[in-house]
Subunit: 320 residues, 2 copies
Amino acid sequence: MSDPRPGEFELIARLAARLKAPRRPGSVGIGDDTAVLRFGDRHLLLTCDIAVEGRHFLRGQMPMADVGWRTATANVSDVVACGGRPLCALISLGVPADAPVALYEGLYDGLAEASAHYGFDVLGGNVSGAAEIVLDIFMVGETTRFVARSGASPGDLVAVSGTLGDSAAGLHLLTRPPASPGEEWLRRRHVRPLARIDLVEPLREAASAAIDISDGLAPELGHLAERSGVRLEIDPARVPCSPELRAFAGARGEDALRYALHGGEEYELLLTLPQRRLAAFAPGSLTVIGEVRAGRGVLLAGEPLAPEGWDHLRPPQPRR
Amino acid sequence: MSDPRPGEFELIARLAARLKAPRRPGSVGIGDDTAVLRFGDRHLLLTCDIAVEGRHFLRGQMPMADVGWRTATANVSDVVACGGRPLCALISLGVPADAPVALYEGLYDGLAEASAHYGFDVLGGNVSGAAEIVLDIFMVGETTRFVARSGASPGDLVAVSGTLGDSAAGLHLLTRPPASPGEEWLRRRHVRPLARIDLVEPLREAASAAIDISDGLAPELGHLAERSGVRLEIDPARVPCSPELRAFAGARGEDALRYALHGGEEYELLLTLPQRRLAAFAPGSLTVIGEVRAGRGVLLAGEPLAPEGWDHLRPPQPRR
């Protein structure tokens, strides 16, 4: 083969091409945060997200309860981005021979916390031997209106929740004790991210398109623009960065915006909506960062933005 | 910890103990072939089953299309054992750096075949780096009546579909060319097992309890007896073994019954039903192998039967 190692998105496209389109009416397949199954008048949202030892986490680098919490959060975030609330989850566990049971108990404590916080039931799962710890979560959610990536229209605003880039900064702070409360806050944004289930009602009501920021703002903007067939024009000065991130990046001689654009595992929301629908959100819960135009691609301060971000098939890039 | 390596079922019990019981009415959690989510009069069945390289298959030992087919079949079989038909699946893929894309394309060809045969849609999934090839399938099915493991009553008959032990014999035939059409048939029973979706209508109508035979007849009898709170009395002479298995075992000086009792990855059905409901099944599609009595455990020809079978946390035992 000419290309034995395509990237994550190319591989998914090549494999998806070998499958038939869904035959059931109302089903939405590969390409969104979740798959959709129409069940009577209800939209069931189906998603899965995996954590693999050595790729998504290192044993001993954070408590296993945090690994359980974060992986559950990634799944909940996909459901929320489609306008839904999570109902239940199955857990598929890969168990290497050298891992003591206490590790899995910690993992399940984190899952139990997430289950209580986000309001889903863990209904079952599967255990198998494996070379490394694998936590694969399958989540089922529900919504009355499916918010897709493809609904952005020219004239809509582009907005995000929260502040961006904190989690990527927090990743640096796993290997040394935090030097300040600000650093501790950044670390916590990485190990205990919050899916924005608090925003799901206005999102469902008002958003024309939405996606959660799991791989960094830049690639998520790219996905939204491509799926909606529009151009997104973003003002970098409006991208919300926390004072904690600005202090952290400044001390390293770096630009906070780089963290916001390319940092992964954020779980804030990126959405588009008509100006008149902005009032559905409580003041301060969204930041408008740009506009939807006719065209293609993403412009940042008028310049094309490369969709660089996390690719889960490539090892994490060392960051200074 | 006193016991760093409990078996599969003990580990599941210990982890399940850390979770709260489902809060949604009608939800059935850990302990059955599938989890159940009730929507009005419809039951959504949720299950997952994983194939890990080096544990469930070896690269090069069988075509990857067979690995895809078998893993999909394992999931469909869990849905069928609960009286359901599969609706859709998500695929979670672990991708090691050294595996060429053609392997995944083969895997997906097998999944596409299974999707067409069993009638489910592949709606999405997830790709991650991993140390070994991991194929984790999450399947959603549907039934109007959930057939649990717990419904067997004293006086019911115990019955199985098909013939048992073929797959375990076929496992031996992966590493050498089959010496006869009978051996080729056994090999095919291993690499291309069929979930008994052809029996789902009478099963849903007539069975008091059911389970699919994924870990061998002996352990599945044990699960059914335990969950139903009954004793199962089995006549070994009535356990159906194929002529091909008898010839294979006989040539090795072994007892075909041993394969039937302890061989895994079978995907035939074990069920209980009242005598008067037997007519729901077409003649010859079931074999009655015993009866349900008040009491506990499993008796084979009057002797207690140890529930020995596959444990996916322990490496496969070498078989002569």
